[in-house]
């Protein structure tokens, strides 16, 4: 799977490197929830800049990660949504419930620190 998950301070940073199949999206969703629990992380950043499509399945999976982590007291921040992808998501009506968003990794860390 084209995703790396790194620990930085109390946070986890997941960087998606390439397009993901639905199976890989499910693996990422489950890995993020498991790793947040294992490291007792207070926040997770998911960098989606490499995704050229965010459809209903990816959107729902990110919301599930955010909702699950919120129940454990951790924040989820999605960073790097491409402008064209944001337009498509908006047109579609995919709002990413419970997910925080930021422009890039740096802004995501600022949001978590805030």
């Amino acid at each position: 799977m084209g995703v790396s998950i790194l620990k930085q301070r109390d946070y986890l940073i997941a960087s998606i490197q390439s397009a993901l199949t639905d199976t890989e999206v499910v693996q990422l969703r489950d890995a993020l929830v498991a790793e947040v629990a294992r490291h007792r992380s207070r926040g997770v950043i998911v960098d989606v800049a490499a995704l050229d499509v965010i459809d209903s399945f990816v959107s729902r999976s990110l919301s599930t990660v955010a909702q699950t982590n919120r129940l454990r007291g951790a924040k989820t921040v999605v960073v790097g949504i491409q402008p064209d992808v944001a337009v498509a998501m908006s047109q579609f009506g995919l709002g990413l419930a419970d997910v925080h968003t930021a422009l890039d990794l740096e802004a995501g860390l600022e949001l978590l620190d805030g």
């Binding site: 397009a19 993901l20 199949t21 209903s56 399945f57 579609f92």
Partner: protein, 145 residues
């Protein structure tokens, strides 16, 4: 542009179909944003094939009508079919996970979506995106010139 045929048997094929759809959209002159709309709609419709029919095919081709170019995406399967197409297209199925959301999204992202389905005989979804000549990119380009 040659007609592109992508067999859909797994979620990896869905990724291939949407990447080829994006490339074809750009090749016929659709904007980057419209190409993203096309790729997203293909992703949804291909998922409907793998989830509900198991396998099928997506065909992508250029169409010209009244001097305008467009991209047509046809998704066909021989799965169980949709009992009430009209209800699905009106988004009366509340589920945000299944068939309903995919066709709903495709309708919002594409210029036209037509669904032919017969219970027990499969489903054919035909989606079209037209090139627009009053594209924002074109306007900005003209102003810059």
């Amino acid at each position: 542009m040659e007609e592109i045929r992508v067999p859909i048997r797994s979620d990896a094929d869905t990724v291939v179909a949407r990447q080829k759809g994006r490339a074809a959209a750009v090749a016929i002159g659709l904007s980057r944003t419209d190409a993203t709309f096309v790729a997203t709609a293909i992703s949804e419709i291909a998922r409907n094939i793998t989830s509900h029919a198991g396998s099928g095919e997506i065909v992508i081709r250029r169409v010209t009508q009244g001097g305008h170019d467009g991209l047509v995406v046809v998704a066909h399967d021989e799965g169980p079919g949709i009992p009430d197409v009209a209800a699905v297209l009106r988004h009366e199925y509340a589920s945000d996970a299944g068939l309903g959301i995919g066709l709903w999204g495709a309708q919002r992202l594409m210029d036209a979506v037509e669904v032919l389905s017969e219970p027990g005989r499969g489903t054919t979804v035909t989606m079209t995106k037209w090139c627009r000549f009053d594209d924002v990119g074109t306007l900005l380009g003209q102003r810059g010139a």
